[in-house]
Symmetry: C2
Subunit: 182 residues, 2 copies
DNA sequence: CTCGTACATGTACGAATGTACTACTTCTGG
DNA sequence: CCAGAAGTAGTACATTCGTACATGTACGAG
């Protein structure tokens, strides 16, 4: 009953527990004990599988980045098959802005990356990936501007009860994507 | 020599010390001892002047918000007297994006506000204030969109070595401010 | 089988933290 | 002038933390 032998699964559960905890307590609120309790493993397991707490945090943020990249592929496909890129992008963004936990997690990654440069490549995945996707429908400058706006909308939704309305999103993104190509 | 009697000044120095420390260690890295050491006061002074560490943090973030509001007034005046609003706004933003400490502090406030709702009004000051300023030159929707973009540019600069270039800023802001009024 | 290695688990420990507390000094109102 | 309030300063204490470690258990190679 106690601990069935299963290294991969145990590690995975700890990473998942850490991902669950980040929106609740923040990256800096993570502790070995909190993760162990949430994952249902003894305290010692956290130090056995991760060289340090920083490693555990990095593993959790890396996992969060993987999830984000997966979401990015979905966005890419959706944009590919749609007729109206700005409208579709606005709709996808509006959906994103309703998933508070994902937004908080991503902002935690930004904040952590601001203090720890080694995390910056991870933090760039979303913005760079989205920019690359949008480059198929607009100039490089316009694509990046639209991606920057989406991140601004994320920040806005973090501190306002009501996220940006769908029409504002669509008009703004349309305006940016229609910018002269650089 | 030790501590001349001067309550107001002491409190002010501790708040200032906390503001200095936030970009270095983050909001969650603040401790009584760190603030006391930086301010040059004994440990006891921090608990005498602030009911709890949260109070100290709140005081520091409030002070940071005051500085931001002051900066906002400068932006307002600059925009008032200029000929080309998007170009001036882009230049002001470009200057802002070079002050890394201010950006990090502001992002720390966002992250803290995401977890502590009582800080949200403070976090909204910048975005709401900028939106209000811009409302004199564009519709409500366009003004807000431009402010959201500026915050997105802040996030972008936090995790990239090179901030957004001036031309991208100007074109993007021009496109947003020219949006149909809502 | 058996033995070494990888995994599991509970406990221990030094360091750091928030906060309370005691003693001391300076100021102020009567 | 002189209490008592307000400010200053050093220290103490319970708690929590990251991490190390000792012991126990399963499992695959020979």
């Amino acid at each position: 009953m106690t601990g069935r032998r299963n290294p991969g699964e145990r590690r995975r559960r700890m990473v998942e527990a850490a991902c669950e905890l980040i929106p609740e307590v923040g990256v800096n609120g993570l502790t070995h004990r909190l993760v162990a309790a949430r994952a249902g493993v003894p305290l010692g397991a956290t130090t056995y599988y991760f060289a340090s707490l920083d490693d555990l945090v990095a593993a959790a943020l890396t996992r969060a980045a993987e999830v984000t990249e997966e979401g990015l592929r979905l966005w890419s496909e959706e944009l590919e098959r749609c007729a109206d890129v700005p409208a579709t992008l606005a709709a996808l963004t509006a959906d994103y802005l309703r998933e508070r936990d994902r937004m908080v997690t991503w902002n935690e990654l930004y904040a952590a990356a601001a203090h720890r440069p080694e995390l910056r490549p991870l933090a760039r995945l979303w913005l760079d990936g989205l920019t690359r996707s949008l480059s198929r429908y607009a100039g490089a400058r316009a694509a990046r501007a639209a991606a920057v706006f989406v991140d601004g909308a994320l920040l806005y939704s973090l501190i306002n009860d009501e996220p940006l309305d769908a029409e504002s999103l669509e008009r703004s993104l349309a305006a940016l994507l229609a910018m002269d190509a650089g």
